[in-house]
């Protein structure tokens, strides 16, 4: 057992873009366990766009990340010491233990996972929160029917990649939006999307129109702004829009919806959601996703950054789309 470990705290709130000095790396003493507690060594930390929202003091759906406290973050690791009846040393556990190498917890929010069935990191991606976000938004909001066309932004990312593959399995035509030719090739060749538009190509609207000549019945939105406007412009009557993320606005970009008229003209339904508010569905969804990943029907890709000290830089890159697939930090 190490007598100290490293963690990253929020040092200051960003003004506009996130910068490295918004974070501070600290070395702290490993605490002594009390009855009912366990110690987890995190193997992987998940970096996700929602963290950007927490860094601000602005009104949002969740409390702000407190200054000088460990940054919030999903983790997967193993129990290395336990004074808790429900957990034994060696258990693999997923939780929200934060940007930290070690964590003491009472186990309340931990979930045991099967380290033999899937690589541990999968439980932070396609079989974790991002996968569940895809599952919920697609199945509970878009509710696709075979033959419908679904548009997915951030298509090569942790959420978008699962959305598209699940929709394909349900018989939909799936058009992704991603940044750059490499991501678009991956989305089509590896993930099996029917088409993928490179938004960096400079003619998003025209390219998306050409790829959706029969209209769009469902939009799974991870970005917002111009991406959502371009997809709205292609909607058919009674289209559904699952609003999962609006990462596009964090850099201060114009996030106004200029095609709002189409919400009425095409009688669309738009629903914003936070997947952690629907925990009653996680058992069902994660069981389905685990089977699909284990059988190779849902593929995923990861960008793994080594070491907790590199987490801030990796997070800043994530907000700019530098990652390719699920962004993780390997902590051991």
């Amino acid at each position: 057992m190490p007598d100290s470990y490293r963690r990253i705290v929020l040092a200051s709130r960003p003004r506009g873009a996130v910068t490295p000095d918004n974070f501070r790396l600290e070395t702290v003493a490993t605490p002594v366990l009390q009855d009912g507690e366990l110690l987890v060594r995190n193997h992987y930390l998940s970096l996700d766009p929602y963290m950007r929202g927490r860094m601000s003091a602005a009104r949002s759906y969740a409390a702000s990340q407190a200054l000088d406290q460990t940054m919030i973050g999903g983790t997967v690791g193993e129990v290395v010491a336990s004074r808790h009846a429900g957990f034994a040393v060696g258990d693999a556990v997923v939780g929200v233990l934060g940007w930290t190498e070690l964590a003491v917890t009472d186990g309340a929010q931990l979930r045991k996972v099967d380290a033999d069935k899937l690589p541990l990191s999968a439980y932070l991606g396609a079989v974790g929160m991002p996968g569940m976000a895809a599952w919920y938004g697609l199945n509970r909001i878009i509710k696709p029917r075979a033959g419908e066309t679904i548009v997915v932004s951030a298509a090569s990312g942790a959420v978008g990649s699962v959305v598209g593959q699940l929709a394909r399995l349900q018989g939909c035509r799936v058009v992704g939006i991603a940044g750059g030719p490499a991501k678009c090739r991956y989305v089509i060749d590896e993930l099996g999307f029917d088409a993928c538009i490179d938004y960096k190509g400079g003619k998003l609207e025209a390219d998306l129109a050409a790829a959706t000549s029969d209209g769009v019945n469902g939009i799974f939105e991870n970005v917002g702004g111009v991406m959502l406007d371009a997809a709205l412009a292609r909607t058919s009557a009674f289209g559904r829009v699952a609003l999962c993320g609006l990462i596009g606005g964090f850099g201060g970009a114009d996030m106004a919806l200029h095609n709002a008229r189409l919400l009425l003209i095409n009688r669309l339904t738009v629903q914003g959601f936070i997947v952690t508010e629907h925990m009653e569905l996680w058992d069902q969804g994660l069981t389905e996703l685990a089977e699909l990943v284990a059988s190779g029907q849902v593929k995923y890709r990861e960008t793994v950054t080594q070491g907790i000290a590199a987490a801030p830089e990796a997070f800043i890159g994530l907000l700019q789309g530098f990652n390719f697939g699920k962004q993780l930090v390997k902590l051991i």
Copy 2:
């Protein structure tokens, strides 16, 4: 039986604001009835914001109004001649016979109404299409619970006035938005809304915030643009937005939704609808509305313009909010 009658046709499509020369008054010969046809003398023509959309050639949910054809419009009148087994002379009928004093029809879209129970004009307002739009958007999209706060724009209008009264009957707190002190007084004193914001007062956002200190759970939107943004800014988690009309955009105003981020942050559901696509509910809805109007629990107000020649001017005034309550044209 007169041997001729007057009607108004679409002479040209508006460029920006509607002008009188977009319309043309014509006198035409009364046709001879064929078997299966009937002749209706319209008593009232309904003027409604949706007509503005039909006047454009732009893509919308309905086909454009054809040039040189009778303008579309809801009507109530009486059968004055019939060679149709289902209709007798003297029957009171509601239909969509257009901006015309007389009309020959096969009766397919006509509905007989009870001229003794309610004034005929009510079947074009609170007990007609506007009332059904209120009923559907409130009960099927917003689904209010007692104690919730509902915001209604165009609150003194044919739709908004019914929305607010129905929501009050369901135990909601209702805040209207209307143009000018007279309309706001009417909305509070006569219709019984809890509050009404005069958007012409110059501080819509601050006034609405003061009137909705507990947040907003439902928005019934008839206008869009700044009104919708102001209401979105006040939403609580899981708020619902029924999008019935976006009349604000027809003058070329900026209709972008600047508070789109709140759709995600507050996990809102926004649904656009066209009430004529839900005809299966009209029997139920109109029966309820007829009882509420007959018993005085739902009140309404009308602006009645005399004579078909005055219809274009009345319609232009409607688009600018000059009417007070349901805008009608009396044709006899």
